[in-house]
Symmetry: C2
Subunit: 485 residues, 2 copies
Amino acid sequence: GIALNTLVEPNPACSTGGGRVCRHPLTNEAENKRLLEHEQTIKGSFDAIVKVLKRIAGLQHEADFTERAQVIAREQLGFELPARILDDAWIADLDMRALYGECVMQTLRQKAEQAQLKNPQKDTDAAIAFFLDSGYHAVDISPCSDGRLKGLVRYILRLPEGAVRSRKAYAGAMFDVDANVKRWIETELMRFREGRPVTADAGTRYLKVAVYHWSSSDPTHEGCAAHCSNVTVAAEAGLKRLNAFRQAIENSFCCGASVDTLLIGVDTDTDAIKVHIPDAAGEMNLHRFVDNIELYRSTVNDDANTARLKVYQAIQAASEATGWGASSGEPHEGMRRLITSLLINNLSQIEYVCSNWGGRYTDIGHAERFISVGDGFEEFQLRNLAYFAHLHTVEEGAPDMDVGIKIFTKLNVNHGLPAPVAIHFRYDNRVPGCRERTVERCQRVKEAIEARYADLAKKGLLVCGMTVQDKRPGSPIELVEVDAA
Amino acid sequence: GIALNTLVEPNPACSTGGGRVCRHPLTNEAENKRLLEHEQTIKGSFDAIVKVLKRIAGLQHEADFTERAQVIAREQLGFELPARILDDAWIADLDMRALYGECVMQTLRQKAEQAQLKNPQKDTDAAIAFFLDSGYHAVDISPCSDGRLKGLVRYILRLPEGAVRSRKAYAGAMFDVDANVKRWIETELMRFREGRPVTADAGTRYLKVAVYHWSSSDPTHEGCAAHCSNVTVAAEAGLKRLNAFRQAIENSFCCGASVDTLLIGVDTDTDAIKVHIPDAAGEMNLHRFVDNIELYRSTVNDDANTARLKVYQAIQAASEATGWGASSGEPHEGMRRLITSLLINNLSQIEYVCSNWGGRYTDIGHAERFISVGDGFEEFQLRNLAYFAHLHTVEEGAPDMDVGIKIFTKLNVNHGLPAPVAIHFRYDNRVPGCRERTVERCQRVKEAIEARYADLAKKGLLVCGMTVQDKRPGSPIELVEVDAA
Ligand SMILES: [Zn+2]
Ligand SMILES: [Zn+2]
Ligand SMILES: [Zn+2]
Ligand SMILES: [Zn+2]
C-alpha cells in the first residue's frame, strides 16, 4: 500500500550520461551485486506477506482450510502459521491483523538467522584495522532513526561489519550526550587497562560521527521529520550535539582528553553523502564540505588513479575555502585518510542506487516494514526496512516512538494492518542475571508501548514481538514468549 | 498521626545496666550530642508543620486571615506560605492538602540549605583517606531504600561525609548490577587515566557493600518489606547480588579484575550492625558474622584498650569458626582494619539509641516524612526522614515507588494528608545541556508519577516537588518550577 513517486527525477550524478549505464572506476561491482541480492531477498520476504495472506484469506471458509493455508505458508513464506489463529477461522473471520503481525515477526527472526549463517565468524580484527589505519581505536556513529538511514553502515558508508563500536539511532540524530560519555569511558578503560584494541600510548583517537539527512527531490516534505524537513536546522542540530559531546569530554577529564567529531549528511533519494571537513582544530562548519555526488560526476569518466587524486583534492579544496567556509587549516592526516575512504566507499553506493533504481529511489518517502525498538538488529542494515527507536524505557523514548507510530499509522494502520513492533535488547552473558533482567526489560517496554497506544492495541492494530540476544557478535536471536517471566 | 509502640523492650546491650546510663569507652560522646541536635532540629521542623497548619486552619474565616497566617508561618516555620492558597480561603475552605505539600517541600529546601551552610567545605581528602587507610580507593554502599536506613552513612556507620562514592538505595538492597558495573568502570578509568584518588599501581581495592535489615523486637512485621520481613531471605538476596556483581567484573575484564564485597545487616530497632566476615578468598557466609550488640555488651565495662582488643578478637573468632560458619581463613589485613573501624564506629550509634531512646527506637515502624525520588539529598542522612526510591524512570522504578506510596497511604493519605514526593536529580555542569536534560527528567518523572497514581493526584493526595543540583559536593539545591520547560 505504498504510493510510489511516479515522477522520478534523474540522479544528478548521471545527468551527463544520457541513458548510458554509469561505471565509476572506483566502485566495487561485485559488492554491489552481493548487496542487491541481499536487499531483494530480505525485502522480498517481507513484501510477500500481504500477497500470501490475501491468498489464504480467500480460502478461509473451505473445509481443509488449515492444511491448505499451511502448505501455502510453508511454500511461500518458509514457515508455518500459528495453528491457534487458523483453527478459529471457522467461528469468526480469520484474524488477519494477528496473522500479519505473526508473519512479520517470524520473517524477521528467520531472515536474521539466515544473515548469521552467511557470516558465521565475522572478521572483527579486519574491521578494527580499517579504522586503526586512520588512527581511530573506536568509531561511534549516531544517525537519525529514520528508516531510510538504516543501511548507513553496510550500504551508504560501506564499512566492514563490526567496525563501528556503536550505531545507536535517535530521532533527528539527537544522540544522548550523557550516555555517550559513559560509552567513551568504557572504551577508554579498555585501552588503559587492557590495551584493547591498542594501548593508551599508541596515540589513537576516538571518533564520534553524527549523520543527518535530507531529500534532494522533495526537500520540504521528505527530509528529516524531527527537524521539520529543514536540512539546515538538521545539520546545525547535529553539529551542536557533536560539539556538546566533545566539550563534555574536555571539561570532565584532564590530561588533554578529547575526541574527534565528524558531521555527515545523506541525501536519502540517492544515498550520496556530504562530508563536513573539520579544520586543523577539529572544528566544523556547515559551509565547508565535500559533496560526493559532485565528486562522482566529476570523476565517473576518469581512470582510477585520476579519480582517487580528485578525491584528495576535493578535501584540500574544501580546507582552503574562503568566506563562510573558511578554516584554520587542513584536518590531521588520519582524518583526511578516513574521509577519503568514506567518500570512495560511498561512490559505490551512488552507483548502486543509480544502476538499480535509475538515478534515485522510487520509494523516496517512508516505506519501513516494522518498528525496531531497543538495541536494534545488527543483522538488518537495509534502507527503509525498519524505523529504529533506540530506547531503554518508553518514558524516555516516547518522542521517538510517537514518530514511529505516526509513520506506521500512514503505512499500515490506515490500511487496516497493524504496526509491527520488534522489541529487541542485547544482554551480556558474562554478567550474572543480565539475561533475566533484559527479558524483564522487553516485557516492561512492551507493556509501556501497549499502554501508550492503548487504542491501537485494543483494536489489534499494534503487534509486539520480543527477542533478546547476547552481546557477542553472531549470537543467536532468542524469542521471548509473551507469558514468560 | 504515628502510632507509637508503647511496649518498648529494653536494648539488649543494656540489659545488664539496670537503669544505669551506658557509657562505652570507645564511643564518641561529642559526636553523639552533635548528631542528636541535628536530628531533633530537622525532624522537629517537619513535625511542626501539622501543628502550625492546625492553628492556621482555625483562623481561616477571620478578616485578617492572610496576614495572621503569614506571621505564624514566619515565626514557627521560618518561611511564608504561598499567597495564592491563603487568598482563596474566603471562597472555599483552605486547601490544607496543597498547603501541607508546600510546607514539606519548603522545609526540605530550607533544611538542606542550612545543612550546607554548616559544612561549607567538606574535607573530601580526609574522607578519602579514611578508606585508603584500609586499602580502598572507592567504597560503594547499597542499602535498602527503607527510610529507617536513611541514617546509614552518617549515623549507623559514622562515616565521614563524602567518603562513600555511591549510596544509591534499592528496595531490599537489590542494587542494579549492570549500573554498578558502569560505576566501577568510571572509577577504574579515573585511577588508570588520571591517578585519582591513587594510581592504578598502588594496589588498592574497590569495595561494594550491601546492607539489609531486620527488626529485633517485631521481626515478622517490621523487617524488610521487600523480603516479606524474612531476615534470612533478605541477607541471602543481598549476598547473592554481591556475588553476581563480583562475578560480572571478573568475567568481563581480564588481568585479575575483581572487587571486594561486604554484607552488613542492621537491626533497625537499635541500629546495631551485624558484619558478615569475608574469608581469605573474599567469600561470605550467612553464618559467619560479628554481632555488634554482643560486642557492645561484652565491652561496655572495659577500658578502651581492652575493648579495642576484643573487637579484633571477635573478628578473629568469627574467622576461626567451625561448622556452617567455617571459613578458608581470615580476610586480608585491609578488610580486617575496615571491619574494625565499622564495628567501633557503630558502638557510638548503639549508645546513641540507648541513651536517647531508652534502649530502642520508639518508632520502630515507618514514620518517614517524605518520599525521596531520584538521586536523593546528600544533605539528609536521617533515620525515618524519607523513604528513598532511587530511579531514573518510573517505568523501571515502579516497584520501589509502589512500596513508598503504600507506606504513605498508611502514614498520610489515610489521615487526609497528601504523600509528599521530592523529585531530585543531580546534573553535571561540565556536560553541556546536562542541566536542561535533568530538568526535563524531573518533569518526565513527575508526570509519570502523577499518571501512575492518578487517583491520589486528582484528589490532591499526591504533591510533587522538583529540584536539581550540580554533582559537585556543596552545590546549591535549585527549585524546578512546575511550568518550566
Ligand atoms: Zn531524520
Ligand atoms: Zn547513473
Ligand atoms: Zn543502654
Ligand atoms: Zn528493606
